[in-house]
Each structure stands twice: as C-alpha cells, then as structure tokens.
Symmetry: C2
Subunit: 468 residues, 2 copies
C-alpha cells in the first residue's frame, strides 16, 4: 500500500521531491537531537495545490502526515515517529511573499517563509513585523503559527496569534480553506484561524498567512538594571508600564547564575554591570527622536532608583551598545547548553504570582536536589520564565537528567499548576509534554479538545501522538 502511495506522490510532485533514500536526518532528527524518527518518505510540495494533493493521497491511503517547517521546535512536535509509516511533509519550498499592502499594514506569505525573510520583506517596505525569537534565521512562519510562537516582543505586540489576521489551511481530507484576510474585524462565524494557530499541525496544515505589520518605530532605547529580588522586578515592570505605556516593548529578567554561565562560556562579552540577584533588560521603541526616547528611559530608571526598585542601571548610548546588552540575554540558552543538558521548563504564571512561585520552588528544588543550579530567565512582562534545572557542578549532567527529570518536572509543574500557571508558555506540547497535558489539563478542556480533533481529523492522521 505504501508503495502505491509513494508512486502516486512521485507522479504528482516529481520523484526529486519524494525522498526515501540517503541521510534524511535534516527532517527526521529534531534540533535538540532528542527525537529521531524514521519517515515513510520526506515530501516537499511546491505550493498549496501540491500540499492539498499530498493530503488527498494520504487520506486515500490512510497514511499519517507530520507537517514540518524549519524543524526548530523544542518539544518533538515536528519529526516523525520511529514506525517508518508517517509521511514527513516539509513546507520549506512554499517560500514566496505573496504580497504586501502598506496602507492596510498587512503582508501575505507562504507558510515556509523563514521568519527572518518575513522580517526583511517588511523592513524593505519600511514596516515592522515584530515577531522575533532565537531561531528566526531558520524557523518558518508556518511553524511559528502552528505553535503560536512567542519571543522577545510579546509584551508590546503579542504572540504569533496576535500578529496573524488570516490563514490558508489544507484540511485532513485535502481541501483548501482560503481564510486569508487582511481584515481587522470580521465576525462572520467561528474563529477558525485561532483554532488552527497553536494546534501544532494536528487539525490542518497551514500553507499561508496574512500577517499584521506595524510602522517602524523611529527611535528605540535599551537599558540594563540590577535589583535584589523578583518582587522589585515586578514593581519596576509596573512602573515602566505606567510611564512608557505602549512604548515598552521588552522586559526580560535574568538571575545571577544565568549570567554567570554566560560569563563562563563567553568570557569576552562585556558585562556593563556587576553580578546581582536579578538583572533586568528593558527595551522601549517609540515614535519620537532617539534623544527623547533616551530621556524617558533615563527618567524611568531615576524614578526606579529613588523608589528602591533597582540598585544600578546603564542605558545603551548607541545601537552597538544596545545589541551588546541583548547579546548577553540571548547568550543564555547557548551558555547553558555548553554547560551540559538541563531540565527545561517553559512556564507562565500571572506576573503577580511569579515572586512567590520562584521563592517557593527554588527552595524546594534546592532541598530535594542538593547542589542543583537554576538557570532562571525570561520574559517577565509576559509572565513567562525559562526555569531550567542544571545538574550540580560535580555531577554528570546527563546522569542527573536521566535520573531526576520526572521528579524535577513533578515538583515544578505541581507548583505552577497550584498557582494557575501554564506548563507550556510558548513552546507547545508536541511529544514532550503530551503525557503531562493529559494529566494536568482539566478534564472538560481535554474532552472539548478531543471532540474538536475528532471533528476535523476523524481518522487521526494529522501529526498523531502530538498534543492529544
């Protein structure tokens, strides 16, 4: 049966776009090298019509489909399982910018466009597509939408969901839903767009999107500040929101150990402030002049020092200095991975609950796992922490992970759920957190999700084993 399917796919797409031989690890092995699958074949359709044809052929043959963008996901949601029976559907060749409407502040792009290419296309029209994350050089906009990606600009501009006005989606049975729309208001029926966004390829295959653009801010400012506690970070955030309003575009926090890791593995990076319990990175973007923007930022920091929220601060004097400050923040993930594998948590909580959560949970981890080191950093403005547990210095990181991952997860996720938090703020569920979701999501929500999955993919052939 699979022979017949492969023959039909080769006839429809051309033999060169149906890969079954050679090293397929670019598609079969995930970015973290944690999941290695084996695909029936890797197919690379060129456009929406070919995606629809693939889906119709798979429906006819009862074959499962795993959609994949840039293969940069962190939760094992985009690689096939080990059965050799799932078709890996790469969207990478759907990479055209279909159009840009400056007066409407929208652009329509194929799903396989790399995020950075989308950003560049907007910039060429002197506009801003604000989604920005570490993997932007290789992740695709389709994957960003399928996982509702977050990143560093969410505070001001929202997640991928908030940046999308319309979608084109191929359904499980190979029909094309043209929901591409440049409309900011449209109350004609159920919100199909947001149902597909974040569904990780389990309800349909996103083939194109109409995205929201913004005017490019005329001026921006970046500052670094140090403080003694997360409670003071929250107080600073409240003050910054009040004084900067929508000009506040980023508010990142980094604990002492996360910046120590950066210093250890990237010793040449300049560190403009001495180590502190917490370091905060503040970014503002504004329509005023650089000078006016810097004055507002300095005035905020002065007020924060007077109120006792921060101890010290530095404002970037140039774009190069601003990049250097961001570079510190962005080096944390790499520094921690150079220190060995760790147990990652991508959690969200109400901002007000974060200081208490961290105090409680860090103490409980220290007690249960003597010597563990916490890499705690993230997007405080969104209530989102990357709360990663690193092995004690003296122990093998891999052995610590193998032995303790379940117990560490249980401790952290119990504390998160007790405070109304989320066990996946921006990375999704994929394979990694599927069991956890089944146990922790309220039963009524799971039941509603299963009913929707059954309605849209009754044969369960779209990215099976993910999410639900």
């Amino acid at each position: 049966m699979s022979t017949a399917l492969l023959a039909a796919l080769r006839e429809r797409l051309g033999a060169a776009q149906v890969l079954t031989e050679g090293d397929l690890s670019a598609w079969e092995l995930d970015w973290r090298r944690r999941w290695r699958g084996r695909a029936l074949a890797v197919v690379r359709p060129a456009d929406t019509a070919e995606v629809a044809a693939v889906l119709r052929l798979c429906a006819a043959h009862g074959t499962s489909v795993v959609p994949q963008g840039g293969n940069t996901g962190l939760v094992g949601g985009g690689v096939p399982d080990a059965s050799g029976m799932q078709l890996l559907l790469s969207l990478a060749r759907l990479n055209r910018v279909r159009g840009l409407d400056a007066a409407n502040l929208t652009m329509t792009v194929d799903a396989g466009c790399v995020l950075q290419a989308v950003q560049h296309a907007a910039a060429e029209a002197n506009l801003l597509f604000p989604l920005s994350l570490a993997s932007e050089g290789s992740c695709t906009i389709g994957g960003n939408l399928a996982t509702n990606a977050g990143g560093t600009q969410v505070l001001r501009f929202g997640n991928a969901r908030e940046l999308c006005l319309g979608l084109e989606v191929v359904t499980a049975d190979g029909q094309v839903w043209d929901g591409l729309s440049g409309l900011r208001k449209d109350n004609t029926g159920y919100d199909l767009r947001d149902l597909f966004i974040g569904s990780e390829g389990t309800l349909g295959v996103i083939t194109a999107a109409t995205l929201k653009l913004h005017p490019r801010p005329a001026a921006s400012g970046t500052a670094l500040a140090t403080t003694t506690s997360l409670a003071q970070c929250v107080a600073l955030l409240t003050l910054a929101r009040k004084r900067l309003g929508a000009a506040l575009t980023g508010f990142e926090v980094m604990n002492r150990f996360s910046l120590e890791l950066v210093a250890r593995h990237f010793p040449t990076l300049p560190r403009p402030l001495p180590g502190a319990a917490w370091t905060v990175l503040i970014e503002q973007a504004d329509t005023e002049s650089e000078a006016a923007a810097r004055t507002r930022l300095e005035s905020l920091l002065q007020a924060a020092i007077e109120a006792g929220h921060i101890d010290d601060a530095v404002v970037a004097e140039s774009l190069a200095q601003s990049h250097a400050l961001w570079h510190l923040r962005e080096s944390i993930p790499l520094a921690q991975s150079q220190d060995g594998p760790n147990i990652k948590h991508d959690i969200a909580l109400p901002v007000s609950a974060i200081p208490g959560f961290v105090e409680h949970t860090e103490a409980a981890l220290a007690q249960a796992f003597t010597g563990m080191r916490l890499v705690n950093f993230g997007h405080l403005g969104d209530g989102n922490l990357h709360f990663n547990v690193q092995a004690p210095e003296s122990r093998s990181a891999q052995e610590f992970l193998d032995r303790n991952e379940h117990a560490v997860n249980a401790l952290v996720y119990d504390a998160v759920c007790a405070r109304g938090g989320s066990i996946s703020a921006e990375h999704g569920i994929g394979t990694l957190k599927r069991e956890e979701l089944a146990q922790r999501k309220p039963a009524v929500a799971l039941q509603l999700m299963r009913a929707i999955k059954q309605a849209l993919d009754p044969q369960g052939r779209l990215n099976p084993g993910r999410v639900l």
Copy 2:
C-alpha cells in the same frame, strides 16, 4: 415534558427566577424592535452552578437554550424564536467582579456584568478596560465576548477577543469548563477561548471572563479635521500611525450626510468645522503630559495640511471640548434612526480597498435607487464602515426598506465580497445575516464550522437558528 422541565427549573432556581407570565418583552423583544419571540420561560440563574444546572436540565429534556446578556444585539441573536419552545437564559444576575490583579493587569468578572461597570471597576484601580461602545450602559461583558464586540478603541486595543485572557464556559451538556486564566502566554492545547468568543452562544454559555487591563493614559487629545476624499483620509491615517504609533487610539470618519443628519436632529450641538465631504475624528492617548500630547497632535495636523491630506482642523482645548467632538460622532446612529429606519451594513475591508469600494458602491446605489441617501461613517482605522442606506427624502422609509432591502444588500455585499471584505465586521451574524452567511462564506469554512458545532453541541440545542 416542558411542564416537568419548568417544575425542575423552579425547584432548582426558585420560582421567582423562572418567568412564564406577564410582560416578558424585556427579554423577548430585541433592542431594534425587529425580532419578537416567545420563550418557554425566562430563567435567571444567580451563578455558574445554576447555569450548569439549567443546561443539564435542558439537556435531559431536549430543550433549546437562548443565552442573553443585555439584549442590545443588532442582529437578532439573543431573543427566542416564536415557537414558545426555547428557554431564554438571562445571564444578568451573574454580575460580580470576582477579582482584580493590578500587578498582572487583569480582572475576572461574571458574564452578566454591564460593560460600564467593568470599565468603572478598572478605573477605581486606576487602570483602563478599553472596550467602549454605544450600548456600554446596558450591554454585558458576556454578550460582548459572545459577539466579539468592537467599538471605538479597537485600533489601539483590539476587539473584545484581544481583551480577554480566559473564559469560564458551561457546555451544552451542562459541564463547567474553567478556562479562567490570567496568563498572557499559554500554549497547552487548542485555543478553546477564541472558539467560544464570537460564537454567539451556539457552542457554549460564557459565564465569566478574565480580562486584560491597561495602565490609564496620563494624557489624551482629540482633533477634528475635514478633507475632500476617503483616499486622503487613508493617507492621513497612514501618517498618524507613523507619527503617533501606539498613541493613536481612535480614527473615525463621517461623510457629509451623516453630520447633516446630526445637525438636523440635534441642532443645538456645536459644529466646530463647516461641512465637508469627509470629517475625521482623531484620538490619541499617551503617557506624557497633556501639553506634550497636544503638541504632537498639532504637529501631525500641520504636516497633514502641508501634505494636502486635510483642509482644516481643530484640536480640543479641554476635556469638555473633546467630549463635544465625540458627541458629534456618537449622535449619528440616533440621528439616523430619528430620520426613519434604514438598511444597515456593518462591513469591513482592507483599509487600502475602502476608497475604491465606496466610490464604486455609492455610485451604483445612486443609480439603482434614485435619491437614496448614504449614512457612511465608522472606524476607518479598523477598515470598518457603517454603510447605511437611507430612503430618499420624499419616500416612506419603511416602504423603501421593505421593498429594497434585499436588492440593496445584494449590491453592497457583492461589492464587499469582491474586495475580500466582511459582511459583518463587529455585529455578528445572529438571525439577520444567517442566510447571507450560508451563501457567501466559502464552503470549506462552513463545513469546518458545522463540524465544530456538531462536535460541541451534537443535539443543536444552543441558540439554534443563529450563525449556522
């Protein structure tokens, strides 16, 4: 069978909250007095548990349920049909503010809270809940969410959808989904929240919501400007977005006839600028001082005059003057209704398509319906026009409406759909536009919507005959 249901409802809610006698027109007749139904009973549960009990009893008896908030909808989505067999479920007694979290910028409220009460509760904490619309004194937040209401602040803050972080919903079979969440990021499964938002009570009954709040802007400014064409209005909008950024909170346009109607029916209202083809109302809110905000607005208007986008402009010098400018805009709906019934269209288009659409469609209407008068006003910043056709001065408005409504709608909606627009930008589908939706929505979208409806309400008992 209905006798047994009524007895069970009376036992559960108390006889006083199950109304079957007397004048029930407050619930059975819609605000526009266009739809008058007859309910099996009007039930008024006090809390979520009682709503769930009502839904379970209705499930057991196979009875349909029409949820209702403030009964201010414009499309006949919240009143029962004439059968006398549908239960009218009023959410009005669920009117508690459950809590407000200032550091997290959220508040959780019952669905029956009146929008103005929600605004006031936020203001008491020195925060802003920005949803604002004409009926805010009587509409409820549950209804706002069930219809994804829009209003005058969408340009900056989004529709009701963008102002909601979490929901509590009672399902068709009477289970309670507790999806209340103060999280800005949560990628744990399908987006149930946005599926219920805008589904007009056909998928579940919203009983509470966690809402996003914003810092109150320190300063605001309002201006009125006149111009010769919609193309110049779009050019002004682009300039305003660029210069004011996120400080631009409102951008309303009014055609000459809509302000003539206001002058005719409210002759004492001051009109600071002479009549023009188009009058634009611009609002900005900012974190700076009043003086700085006004300077930015004046500088924008100066640049717009120099660029030839506008002919004349006036900036409000006080809060009272600002209110007077808004009062002009807000008097249009009442002025037109005092002029007799008209044929209303709540349409959205890409902003860039609006000038061409209006030019084409107004000419086609004038040719087909000699003497018709177009009340054309709305939220240009959102691409949303209220494009209402008033009878010729010499003719009976009711007779014109009865005779021409279908033909007018066909002409307008054909032109909207040809340009990728929406036939319901912010009012929803309800009863009024159901047929239109069935004809105009792409077949794949309708099929997906029907599959979802079948999955979540397999017996079709939630607000039947609405939307689908």
